[in-house]
Symmetry: C2
Subunit: 216 residues, 2 copies
């Protein structure tokens, strides 16, 4: 999220930072009420109390505007140390799920991702302002787990990068799919099951389930 205030060493009237905030908030409100397809820039401008031309002076179009509006939702994403890899994963996933449960995130994020398949610049914008911040959590969690001895240190840095990418796609993809496609909440129970599967794998997790059932 780049600051939009006028860069130093420039003459002329500075851009209103308040207008930016109002526009992005109005965009999220419009996403909630109308969804992606019915959202119009004219409507957003009216909601924000801003002229339509001001919108076009700052953003190239609907896609870029929505990316920035949704990106702000991910500002709160943190990774508090919960003591174990499993707890860290559960915490991060629950935070991600909480953001994704908001209607403005659901309708906005997926729509721009869909558009980004035909627009490399848009894809890069999404990566920089949203995706990379999520991926950083994976890196942080991995480092902590290695420090705790829960995961072995990486030998091949290239292989390690591939693994991080893989885990990221699995975690983020699973939460998104659960929330948007299956349209069911990624609540604590689900997250526990997911974390167990991620850590121990399908075979071991199933065996554990069978074991529990036998004991009962």
């Amino acid at each position: 999220m780049q600051t939009r205030t006028t860069p130093a060493g420039r003459t002329g009237r500075p851009r209103s930072a308040a207008a930016d905030a109002a526009i992005l908030a109005a965009t999220r409100a419009a996403l909630v009420e109308l969804g992606w397809s019915r959202l119009t820039l004219g409507d957003v401008a009216t909601r924000a109390g801003v002229a339509k031309t001001t919108l076009y002076r700052r953003w190239a179009g609907k896609n870029e505007l929505v990316v920035d509006a949704v990106a702000e939702l991910f500002d709160e994403l943190r990774l508090p140390d919960r003591g174990s890899l499993a707890a860290d994963i559960e915490g991060a996933v629950l935070q991600f799920a909480a953001i994704l449960s908001r209607p403005e995130a659901k309708s906005g994020l997926m729509a721009v991702v869909a558009e980004s398949t035909r627009d490399a610049a848009l894809r890069e914008r999404i990566r920089a302002s949203i995706v990379d911040r999520q991926k950083r959590l994976v890196l942080e969690g991995r480092a902590r787990a290695q420090a705790r001895g829960e995961l072995p240190p990486e030998n091949d840095p290239e292989e390690a990068a591939r693994t991080v990418d893989l885990i990221f796609d699995v975690v983020a993809g699973a939460v998104v799919h659960r929330t948007l496609v299956s349209a069911e909440p990624a609540d604590e129970e689900w997250v526990r099951g997911f974390t167990r599967l991620l850590l121990r794998g399908l075979v071991d997790a199933s065996a554990q389930e069978a074991q529990k059932a036998l004991e009962a």
Copy 2:
């Protein structure tokens, strides 16, 4: 995919099945060339050699049309028995990835999913024509693995259903995220790594990696 020919016991001129096929094909072609947002129903009608009004007589709007057009891409989805759970998973994931690698699937599918967050009927349509067919593969694969003894039989049917849903979200979500968000191909190498993670889990998979590195 429901047949759109006139149901038996009806009078009047029957709907042209050829027109349906032409319209859906034209929709996919338009998705490839224009993407979701720039796709217009008027353009699709022209491409299909059909009047615009005919389109509106059959589909309520852009969303429903694209769902049906994309759904046809999933007709080829099968699960040949490859002898082991790992091989079955790899085969199914590679098929799914091949479909998702098409531009018409990328831009179309995610867009309608985004729209479905605000439209329960559309979500149900997607579920019936696309999602359920994928989920059936998970059920089939699980049954085979149990028959082979690779997975324990399920005791609690409710728990089993939850597990199937979980695995489905993980598999489909990971492939979608890899293909659309990370914008990199889910090729054989990636699928192998993913399958290992899914089966053995993060801890075991990492230990194996470290082991391999030590041996080398």
